[in-house]
Amino acid sequence: MNRIIKVARMQLINKATFIGIPLLILFSAFLFTVVIWWLVRRNDAEGILYGGGAQAPMWYFLALGIQALTLTFPFSLGMSISRRSFYLGTLALFATCALVLSVFYYLMGLVETATGGWWLDGRFFALQWISENNWFIQIMFYFVLMVLLFMIGFLIATIYMRWRQMGMVFFFTSLGILVIGAIALITFTDTWMQFWEWVMTWSAGGVTLWGGLAAVLMAGCSYLTLRKATA
């Protein structure tokens, strides 16, 4: 247990990586969005303005998942850390960061609603599709999305560490075949309309649930893969 916490402390030695950069990305995305809204409002635009910038830090987590592994894993082997401790420590730290950030999103969403969309009727944190849910689903939605993106990066990097280039070729070829197969299936059965209608029925709660399951599945796969990975 002790060494798991130490792994988390090691990942935090450079505080920019897990805390500084995500916050910087979030605040600059927010700032840019608000400036753009303000400019738009000066031109007397009507209606609600949406900004997708809240996603920005989440895409960084995809890169962070890769980086946490490719850079820190070989180092942690040199620090005589077991793969299990590395895995649990890194994931626990990221989950904590993601949870704190999710709560922050939720709180900012409340402020956004209270201030009438930052006095500009804009939607950055409290997208209606999400904010119409209760607080728990809202926080879990952000949390699961962040963890899911981190796990995608983490899993891809683990496959690389274990099987190197061959692993990458195999993984992306399989993924490509799956995606093309799905597209082909929908195209040949002429069911694109049904598909998009189905997508429109997704709720934030459902996405959270299925995303969470996918993240757990990927977490399991990446651990099994990491167990026999070498530096």
Binding site: R3, K6, R9, M10, I13, N14, A16, T17, Q67, L71, T72, P74, F75, L77, G78, M79, S80, I81, S82, R83, R84, S85, R227, K228, T230, A231
Partner: protein
């Protein structure tokens, strides 16, 4: 501290595709000694150390470190330090941050020693690791290895890019710190001449097999080179095991595995033969080469 075996290796085999990196290795390492793990590049040194530190895994056989399998065993791993020759560090780390990380995981970490060494190696604490020269990168590894004071410390060719002065600092610090804090050190190197006098025990590995496993002192003076007239040299060496033979016209220079007493030395002098000592490096080179040719002989015999 008990005198139980620090590392016990039984029937260890590791194969990469069609290359036998380790071929049925059996070894015991005692605690609180400095071992030299010698051999050519690709002989299997790094693979062996990786398996001993749980960084890699064997196909067959077992390794026990302080009586436990090291693989995924935090309690055992915590007593080991193994910095690779090509050790990777997080890209965004500065030098002092790498040491901060090491201080988390190595219980006996001596920050004061790390700081002294940083000064001696002229290592800029605030520089990013990825901006260091090859020699400075090696210095980071050397400092972690020394300051960790782990019960078993592996140094895998720790000197890449280090100049002669820096290497001497490393050797001096190693001897001094080992004397004060005895522990098991495994020094893998092919600069054998430089480290020979530091070693208490020598293990030579060649093509995945152990060819020498002996106390360093037993190897010193264990061989001698006899130079002189071909016929007289032949008469003198008799049936002694020949490690190497050079000829130049009527002159022969033969290295034999034999400890000569005063009487034999006297005899050589009277026969007009020159005797010259064989360094550990020469001995290791000769032994690995002759073991390689012996194996070829075995094979060709099996074929015939």
């Amino acid at each position: 501290m008990t005198q139980a075996t620090a590392i016990a290796i039984r029937d260890l085999t590791k194969t990469y595709k069609d290359l036998k990196a380790l071929d049925n290795i059996n070894l015991d390492l005692e605690p609180n000694r400095i071992y030299g793990l010698l051999g050519r590049n690709g002989a299997g040194k790094t693979t062996l150390m990786s398996i001993l530190t749980g960084q890699n895994f064997q196909d067959h056989g077992s390794v026990q470190v302080f009586g436990h399998e090291p693989f995924e065993n935090d309690a055992t791993l915590a007593r080991i330090c193994f910095i690779r020759e090509s050790q990777k560090y997080p890209d965004d780390f500065k030098v002092h941050q790498a040491f901060a990380a090491a201080s988390l995981f190595f219980e006996n970490w001596d920050q004061h020693l790390a700081q002294e060494l940083m000064k001696e190696f002229d290592l800029p604490a605030k520089r990013k690791i990825k901006k260091l020269s090859r020699g400075q990168l090696s210095a980071v590894g050397v400092i972690i290895g020394l300051a960790s004071r782990a019960e078993i410390t592996f140094f895998d060719e720790p000197y890449l890019g280090l100049d002669a002065v820096a290497r001497q600092i490393f050797y001096d610090r190693l001897v001094a710190d080992f004397a004060e804090y005895p522990r098991t050190i495994v020094l893998s190197s092919h600069l054998i001449d430089e480290v020979a006098n530091l070693l208490e025990h020598v293990i030579v590995i060649d093509k995945g097999q152990i060819v020498i496993d002996a106390d360093a002192e037993e190897l010193r003076g264990a061989a001698v080179t006899v130079t002189g007239d071909v016929a007289k040299v032949q008469e003198f060496i008799g049936t002694a095991k020949v490690l190497h033979r050079d000829a130049l016209g009527a002159l022969a220079s033969v290295t034999i595995e034999s400890q000569l007493d005063a009487g034999r030395r006297e005899q050589a002098k009277l026969m007009g033969l020159d005797l010259s000592p064989v360094s550990l490096q020469q001995f290791v080179v000769r032994s690995s080469l002759s073991s390689a040719s012996e194996r070829v002989d075995e094979k060709s015999e099996a074929w015939s």
